[in-house]
Amino acid sequence: MRKDIIEIRWHGRGGQGAITAAKIVANAAFASGYKGAVMTPTFGTERRGAAVFTSLKISRDKIYDLSPISTPDMIIVLDHTLLDEVDVAAGLKENGLVVLNGGKPVEEYDFKGRKVAVCDVTHHAVTAGLPPGIVNSGIIGAFCRATGLVELDVLLEAIKKEFSGKRPELNAKAAQIAYDNTAIGGI
Amino acid sequence: MEKKTTTVNLTEEEFVHPGNRACSGCGLSIVYRMGLKALGKNTILVVPPSCLTVLQGLYPVASSKLPVVNVTFASTGAAATGVRGAMKALKKTDVNVVAWAGDGGTSDIGIQALSGACERGEDIIYICYDNEAYMNTGVQRSGTTPQGVLTTTTPIKGKLQKKKDVPSIIAAHGIGYVATASAAFPLDFYDKVKKATTLPGPKYIHVHTPCPPGWSFESRYTIKIGKLAVQTGLFDLYEIENGQFRLTGASEKLIGQKRKPVTDYFATQGRFKSLDKELVAGVQEQIDAKWANY
């Protein structure tokens, strides 16, 4: 109904930090002048390892509708193995975008012709010096490169703040490397 | 602390007003009077519904000279926790926080909150006066009513189940001090309450309180009957201090002595009228077996 709201759906597994990633983007977006930044995790029981999703809505104006996203503008996938389990692109708008943590070349992914951005975040995070399996900081770099919604500097600051006490610099570095190594394909 | 209080040196200061609504010859009245003497002025009491609610007076007259908060039946342990929490928040470190509840309010509806308070290690004294039934509502069976006892909800056959051993349940929480006492030995009770005021953490005192109307005996025999319960070995006076069990007072003196037969006790009260020989023999056997271990 409201045309001014950008709807971003984050897919991950319980424990992977999709909520944290969405929260970082929400913070960065708010700092960049989006007065509306609403992040809504999966309601109910979230179990480690199970597929989960998180809704993030951002807008220049205050957001009132808190219901989950059904027709997202963007889909962020933290784990490519989810593609076999979940219809991550369900409801994705015609001109929508998929940002994916995956190891294959971008041409090999097809979401019915939607724009796709791919980055091997899992690999880059390890390169940055993080223990294996931490992908939520890196995916933000890929998100930034693919969407251009928020400046990278602002995102890196938000990452450092969120991860204060938990390797802030390495997480920021992971995002930076992912940013530099994101391949954008599709239309 | 080991020096025992005597009638002569027991304080004359009273914290209970005469003219209250307790029944004539009430065992609770005796222990309440003694308990408050031991606790002294700097005490806050938490009381759920029980005979004590009536003893303490109907608004706007109060029979206790201490601050009292009446609370819901199931919440005594929690309410004592709340008072202690407030005392800590207000940095008042010298106040005794004392929950005083009946056997129904302790062994039945209140056991969850009491267990929670014990597990948390709250610095409170919890006194359960055990008159072995819901007396305030007119003598209905409770968890601590002994087997075979006639109550208005066990009117013909008597209670079929055994008495719940609440002090043992509380001792299983591993708290620092659990004691039993009897209205018939008020000075022993006084000393135990006094000791409880000096110890940290949760303290639990279970006091046997004969009830003339509820147990069906003449009011003059309150002390005699309370003593018989101890002398027959039915109700034992003991302390469990830091896990160490020891009999105290009149019970300690019974070790190695011949105890009175339980029939002496049962014969004094109308509530045991329907006991059959088999049950009595069974109870005597249980007591003998228990004492063989002391």
Binding site: - | T7, V8, L10, E12, E14, V16, H17, P18, G19, N20, R21, A22, S24, G25, C26, G27, S29, I30, R33, Q56, G57, L58, Y59, P60, V61, A62, S63, S64, K65, P186, L187, P212, E218, S219, R220, Y221, T222, I223, K224
Partner: protein, 101 residues
Amino acid sequence: MTDRNFCEMISRGAPGPGDGGKTGSWRVLRPVINLEACIPVKTNKMACFNCWLYCPDCSVSKTIPPVIDFEYCKGCGICAEECPAGAITMVDEATPIEEEK
């Protein structure tokens, strides 16, 4: 802030005797102390005082001689039962006591 005095009424009892009235009227039997047999009187020592100790109703004084407060004594008879000297007898309330004769 509004002038109204909120919470003027809560149920908070103030300490005082006689919530149950003059409970002396509950008595059927009245304890009478035979001072000649009473231990503290006889020995003129602060001794015994079982009557004071066991009284459920704070109605006996710890004095020589012990004095019973008949305004509130409910007449339970515990003092008579527990007096080691047998100095207290329970007499019918209807029977006039010595001084009244």
